[in-house]
């Protein structure tokens, strides 16, 4: 943690050479950067995401979606936010006020905390933590108790059932997610996401997803596991309207519900960002090595390009998530658990084994490198 | 600020672990609820973990301390799982998880 923050500080100082910024103590910058991420990135995205999702859903269902607030309903999320804030602070009678307040906080913290390790650009990362991937995985597990406590505190039998189910689902789907990350770690040899992404350059073994067939499969397992962890549609059981009203957040209203929704969307974004970083090469520009570009761009521009590519890929995935929401039917609880333990875990283990054998067999080369190696007649294996 | 230095040095860690151990012991001894005892045990185990990590960093600069903590955490997880399973079974049997109820093995 301390080492990576120095990295970030270094990139900041590059921008603010010799300005008055340097005199400011470092913890100020740490605080500012944290605030920027949360308020400039996480929350607006959450809000926009709600709007976008409703627009896509509508489009999928051949309807228009929110267009009242501002042109094309762009400010719909702001209206929602204002609505949420102005709602009455209601705690269900008999419910546990303290837990009622704590639960949404936990969920939001759990999801937002993931941003620290996500590398937006080559140097543009809040803190390239040495155990980056593992950190994100760890932090996202905080959401489960949050949900559980929330459902308990709302003193509602159904919300409790919903909470229990969602906690169980999150905990159990963590395992396939973790197992599917392991091949990537095998390939890159490091937990640092920055490091992982750096290796997915064009000259390197390109995107991990195309590294070897096993990683290709584990990409999908990771994506589906991510969906389940964030309780998105195919695994939407906890919030299944027909049975449990709104699942664990039935009793929540106002800003607490807002936090819940926001937490959920941020979690989706983090999960997608993680997938892009690990499998889709994060900020790597496909077929292009910026560093070896014939003209050295100013670092700021490079950073911008990196961020744009990264966000592009991530939004693509988010779109897919949202797209899935309105296409796939909800899974039953036993189907849910069965898919996890009988389906995804064995395949994930197989992938790990496969990747390991692949690494041993092709000495860490990706498929493309192998193929190109064949053509170029003995390309350097790296 | 000696408080900051204090908290960052091994003394801080040892103090925290001592407090955790004490509270763990207190919780284990005074809880009537079986799960309360379990909580106490978890606290004690974590106190031990902290000690190992602290000594590994501040004293012997060797990875072994962290390894032991790793194993402590693993084993604690296994222990918690089995303990809770037992408690559930006990609850199903006696409709209560009062530790004192479980005294069939008395004299």
């Amino acid at each position: 943690m301390p080492v990576n923050s120095a990295l970030f500080a270094q990139s900041l100082t590059q921008w603010t050479q010799g300005t008055w910024f340097a005199s400011v103590p470092i913890w100020v910058w740490a605080l500012v950067s944290a605030l920027i991420i949360i308020y400039m990135l996480a929350l607006p995205f959450g809000g926009i995401a709600t709007y976008v999702e409703r627009k896509i859903a509508a489009d999928l269902q051949d309807r228009i979606g929110p267009n009242r607030v501002g042109p094309l309903g762009i400010f719909q999320f702001a209206a929602d936010a204002i609505k949420m804030i102005s709602k009455e602070d209601y705690v269900p009678p008999g419910g546990d006020r303290f837990l009622f307040n704590i639960a949404p906080v936990l969920v939001v913290v759990g999801s937002c905390a993931g941003f620290v390790a996500l590398p937006l650009g080559q140097y543009l990362v809040a803190g390239d933590i040495n155990i980056g991937v593992f950190y994100i995985m760890a932090i996202t597990t905080i959401i489960a108790p949050g949900i559980l406590l929330g459902s308990w505190a709302s003193e509602n039998k159904w919300s409790l059932l919903g909470g229990l189910r969602s906690a169980a689902q999150i905990v159990s789907y963590e395992i396939p997610v973790a197992l599917s990350i392991v091949p990537i770690i095998l390939i890159s040899g490091s937990l640092q996401i920055g490091e992982i992404v750096k290796q997915q350059g064009w000259h390197d073994h390109f995107w991990n997803v195309f590294h070897n067939p096993f990683t290709f499969i584990s990409f999908f397992i990771l994506f589906v596991g991510g969906l389940a962890e964030t309780n998105r549609i195919p695994f939407d059981l906890p919030e299944a309207e027909s049975e449990l009203v709104s699942g664990f957040n039935t009793e929540f209203s106002g800003m607490r519900f807002g936090l819940y929704a926001l937490g959920e969307f941020v979690d989706v974004f983090v999960m997608c960002a993680l997938v892009t970083s690990l499998y889709l090469g994060g900020w790597q520009i496909p077929f292009l090595e910026l560093d070896k570009f014939w003209v050295t761009l100013p670092s700021g521009l490079i950073a911008l390009i990196h961020v744009s590519f990264f966000l592009g890929k991530t939004f693509l995935l988010v779109f897919v998530v949202m797209w899935l929401r309105w296409t796939l039917p909800r899974l039953r609880v036993d189907q849910l658990m069965g898919l996890c333990w009988k389906g995804m875990v064995p395949v994930a283990l197989f992938n790990i084994l496969g990747t390991a054998i692949w690494m041993w067999a092709f000495k860490g080369q990706s498929m493309l490198q192998v193929v190109s190696g064949l053509f170029s007649g003995g390309g350097g294996s790296h | 600020m000696n408080l900051l230095d204090f908290s960052n040095s091994i003394e801080g860690y040892l103090l925290v672990s001592s407090i955790l151990l004490t509270l763990g012991i207190f919780s284990v001894l005074t809880r009537k609820n079986a799960i309360g005892i379990l909580l106490g045990v978890e606290l004690i185990l974590n106190a031990a973990g902290i000690n190992f990590v602290a000594f590994s960093k501040f004293h012997s600069a060797a990875i072994d301390g962290q390894m032991v903590t790793l194993f402590i955490i693993l084993i604690a997880a296994a222990e918690a799982a089995v303990a809770l399973a037992i408690i559930l079974r006990f609850y199903r049997l006696k409709q209560t998880i009062d530790a004192d109820e479980a005294s069939l093995l008395r004299n």
């Binding site: 943690m1 301390p2 103590p25 470092i26 303290f98 837990l99 933590i129 040495n130 155990i131 950190y135 108790p145 308990w152 906690a167 937990l191 | 600020m1 900051l4 960052n8 091994i10 801080g12 040892l14 925290v16 001592s18 407090i19 955790l20 151990l21 004490t22 509270l23 207190f26 005074t30 809880r31 009537k32 799960i35 978890e42 606290l43 973990g49 902290i50 990590v53 590994s56 960093k57 012997s60 600069a61 990875i63 072994d64 962290q66 903590t69 790793l70 194993f71 955490i73 693993l74 084993i75 997880a77 296994a78 918690a80 799982a81 089995v82 809770l84 399973a85 559930l88 079974r89 609850y91």
Partner: protein, 173 residues
């Protein structure tokens, strides 16, 4: 270690101790479970500051993600019938508890420091070199070299615990 960092560590330590206190004192088992979670998080942060980042991750994953949820599950499943009846802590325990704590903490602290003195401290340059080294890699290597036997033993233990817990908790078919 900037002052800021030290502050964060101090806050983490206070968080751990405070929540642990609540865990021990609080009559409502659920609250003590929740605060147990917070103390685990505090401990994770302390691990980070002690250079054990991988351990912090493991701590969070195992304790916060696993054990706490298990405990919450257990509490919810067993307290449904008489939820608030189970007032644990009789007031009569608080006083002796405090006395014991006040007496025990310095004793333990002194004991730990004495035990520490027994082991020969590492030279400063080794400390610095250790601090800079990548802990995760070292843990990985240690797991597969010095600690292979414990590693294998723990795997078997976890498997046993897994099967055992499932068999114990399963309602009679």
């Amino acid at each position: 270690m900037t002052n800021g960092m030290k502050w964060i560590l101090l806050i983490a330590e206070l968080l751990t101790v405070g929540s642990a206190l609540i865990v021990a004192i609080n009559p409502n088992i659920l609250y003590s479970a929740v605060f147990l979670l917070f103390s685990f998080l505090g401990i994770a942060v302390m691990y980070l500051f002690a250079g054990a980042d991988f351990l912090a991750g493991v701590q969070v994953v195992v304790y916060v993600g696993g054990v706490t949820i298990l405990i919450l599950f257990a509490i919810m499943l067993t307290q449904w019938l008489y939820r608030l009846k189970l007032k644990d802590i009789g007031s009569k325990f608080v006083v002796p508890g405090v006395v014991l704590a006040l007496g025990l903490v310095p004793f333990l602290h002194r004991g730990l420091t004495q035990l520490g003195k027994m082991v020969q401290a590492a030279p400063p340059e080794k400390m610095a070199e250790f601090a800079a080294s990548p802990k995760t890699a070292m843990i990985g290597k240690a797991l597969l070299t010095n600690y292979v036997l414990p590693f294998e033993a723990v795997t078997i233990l976890l498997l046993g615990a897994l099967v055992g817990a499932v068999w114990l908790a399963r309602p009679k078919a």
